[in-house]
């Protein structure tokens, strides 16, 4: 670095403050300013973390996984430097480090915990030189920004096999075939280099290294990879999700045989042609019990032993997030009791299964379930479908850059899960009409669908539904035969004053979630604004 860092930190803070006051830049502004002044600032400040840092990447669940890891790792008083607001590109991480930097050059924290954007992983790993890298999953997400999934997989494979990435412990989801491959084919400086995925041994139809899929000692394999996964066939789905992204063996191209599918393309799989199989996870969830939109329980199995966990977060996707955080904690040698306490103490991250209270027109819960890509949306829809009865739903589809300009993904998400389960759907956002159409073609009768692009009006209309009308008459119309709108016991009962109105479920995309929280904050009289990462 050219020149001392301290004055640059001061200047970057000032620039960031001005930029924020003008209403631009958000969380990342000071960090971006700092990187302009000192391009190596992340590496320089990162080196001052006494216990190093760990990074977490995934297309789905980064923020929640990092929140769980933070709860676990801070359980013994460890001071973390953590980009908890989710600003996960270079600017956001530089801002986080800048916030923690003190005038004399020390840093107010021992361990860095960073969620990292998929495309930024390579560059940030080189800068941060992390002790561990967690890769949670790889689903199709914002293809308009990220290009093809295979491109990201190739980049991740390079990142974890070369430079600073090769020195880190890897924590991988065994149930995602693409990620298991990254662990299997990882080369490290101490090992002979191999050329490409499955380069050896394919000719005789055998796996490149049959032993790879079964680490000799659970929890520690030669390539320093820790795998996590689900072990519960009672959760298995009947088939691959339509939008499954890894259906063919990356070693030989033959279709995988899925012995169990848990979520999207996550499951227990093997290749009948070349023998490539899911690695045995050393950190796993057994006996998973999903409790609607509220909670999930499972038995956490680790090399340290087993324990019961009750998450205050719903859905199998959060069980996966918990496994990723637990496996990371095992890699850092955190005792099991503290892992369990951290997981159980984690509350919903910003907009992820968060519950707020509406005051108008009646007191009513608003549950916010962020949806942003098919895999995430499917899990939200699956979780929502566990709740009995028919629901009032507020869907908000925006097409800002942070949402993805391309809204095609809604046609990959299984909104069919809501057919017959919607009492009233209000569609809002910049692409409200296409979302409404998606629901109609999923089998929700058009009489139950309302389009109100403007968010405040949409919220008012949706919130008032349960109050202003009783059960909707739903005359069967041509073409709606798949919806089977049989009124359930819960919704056909006339509402009595003693009945608290059931919750309104909001399914917003990312910028819509921020806008919704701002709107609610403004109505509560606070001038609080969500910071855009």
């Amino acid at each position: 670095m050219i020149g001392p860092l301290a004055p640059k930190l001061t200047l970057a803070r000032a620039v960031g403050a001005i930029s924020r006051r003008r209403g631009g830049g958000g969380t990342s502004a000071p960090g971006k300013a700092l990187l302009t002044l000192a391009p190596d600032a992340i590496a320089t400040l990162g080196e001052r973390l006494a216990r190093g840092s760990v990074v977490i990447s995934a297309t789905n669940g980064k923020t929640t996984t990092a929140a769980m890891a933070a709860a676990i790792l801070s359980g013994d008083g460890t001071r973390l430097v953590h980009n908890r607001a989710g600003a996960n590109m270079a600017g956001g991480i530089a801002s986080t480090l800048l916030d923690a930097a003190r005038p004399r050059g020390e840093i107010a924290g021992e361990l860095g915990l960073f969620e990292v954007d998929e495309l930024w992983l390579g560059r940030l790993v080189e800068q941060l030189r992390p002790r561990a890298i967690v890769l949670g999953n790889l689903f199709r997400d914002q293809l308009d920004r990220y290009g093809e999934l295979d491109t990201i997989a190739e980049r991740w494979a390079q990142t974890t096999s070369s430079g600073a990435g090769a020195a880190a412990r890897l924590v991988l989801n065994a149930d995602d075939p693409v990620l298991a491959d990254i662990g299997r084919t990882r080369t490290r400086p101490s090992e002979p280099a191999r050329t490409g995925i499955g380069a050896a041994g394919a000719a005789d139809g055998r796996p490149a290294e049959p032993g790879d899929s079964r680490p000799a000692k659970p929890g520690h394999v030669g390539r320093d990879v820790i795998y996590f996964g689900v072990q519960d066939d009672s959760l298995a789905l009947s088939g691959l999700a339509h939008a499954a992204d890894a259906k063919h063996c990356r070693n030989c191209g033959a279709p995988y045989v899925f012995d169990a599918i848990y979520l999207g393309h996550l499951g227990r799989y093997h290749c009948a042609a070349c023998g490539q199989a899911r690695p045995e996870p050393s950190v796993s969830a057994r006996e998973v019990r999903l409790e609607g939109v509220r909670a999930a329980r499972f038995t956490l199995c680790t090399p340290q032993g087993e324990a019961e966990v009750r998450l205050a977060l719903p859905g199998l996707y959060n069980v996966y997030n918990a496994l990723a955080a637990a496996a990371l904690a095992c890699a850092l040698e955190v005792p099991l009791a503290r892992i369990v306490a951290g997981l159980q103490g984690t509350q919903a991250a910003f907009g992820r299964a968060e519950t707020l209270t509406l005051e108008e027109p009646v007191r009513r819960e608003l549950r916010i379930l962020l949806v942003k890509n098919p895999a995430g949306a499917n899990e939200v829809l699956r979780t929502l479908a566990l709740e009995p009865g028919e629901h009032d739903v507020l869907g908000v589809l925006n097409d800002e850059i942070a949402d993805g300009r391309d809204v095609s993904w809604i046609w990959d998400a299984d909104f069919e899960l809501l057919a017959g389960r919607v009492r009233r759907a209000t569609c809002s956002g910049t692409r409200a009409a296409e979302l409404a159409m998606r629901l109609k073609y999923a089998g929700v009768p058009s009489e139950r669908i309302r389009v109100e692009p403007e968010l405040a009006s949409a919220l008012d209309a949706a919130a008032a539904d349960r109050v202003s009308s009783t059960v909707f008459a739903a005359p069967a119309r041509a073409g709606a035969e798949t919806s089977a709108p049989a009124a359930t016991a819960a919704s056909s009962r006339a509402p009595s004053p003693a009945d608290a109105p059931p919750p309104l479920y909001a399914l917003p995309t990312y910028t819509a979630m921020l806008a919704l929280r701002d709107l609610l904050a403004a109505r509560r009289g606070g001038a609080h604004r969500s910071a855009l990462p």
């Binding site: 308009d144 093809e148 159409m437 109609k440 073609y441």
Partner: protein
Amino acid sequence: MSTLRVCALYPDLMNIYADRGNLLMLRCRCQWRGLGFRLSASGLGEPLDGDAHDLFYIGGGQDRDQRLCAEDLLMRKRDGLHAAAARGALVLGICGGYQLLGRSYQLGPGEELPGVGLLDVATVRIDGERPAPRLIGNVAIEVDFGERVLAGFENHGGRTRLGPEQQALGRVLKGYGNDGHSGLEGARSGGVIGTYLHGPLLPKNAWFADWLIATALGRDVAELAPLDDELEGEAHRGALRVAGV
């Protein structure tokens, strides 16, 4: 009762951009009118009966998936598709599917996937020596049939050039189209249509879904029973608006 018989090619591989939205549109809009709808699939290693379907659909895929499909398409399905097109069946190729309907798709130096040659187009993935930047964004084109305007989203690395006699599908109103500078989008030879308006093209253009249904059944669009298309109209106008038309 007439039945629309649709064959989806490689539905488990060539589906990267929610291509099922297109098939869902066709199914619902047939069923709501009391028309039959039958969807079949023809995947890797499976034969293709060119006489058994009225509309053949091939969606978009990643380069990796296209490599898997290209050879199979040529070896097992080329003759059936040519026979189908010759007797007037519709063939709709979207994004990666469009590229494979052409003569060739050059992925990089020394790697060229052969196409089935139903359209006289050639696609290259490179710009000089380097991979060309992807062309990404909302797009609107003008065509010379039906209700004239199609709206959609494009996201493709390939640059497609039309042969001298090849007709384009339409003229670019906003967006990039085949190569970002010719002002042309897609290609059409009778009932064979290729376009970069990817994934759920039909949900953004319900009129085009009806045009396909009617044409595949040998009817005029005006003969189809009208549907309540209020949401469909709003979605179409919304897609045009974000494209800047």
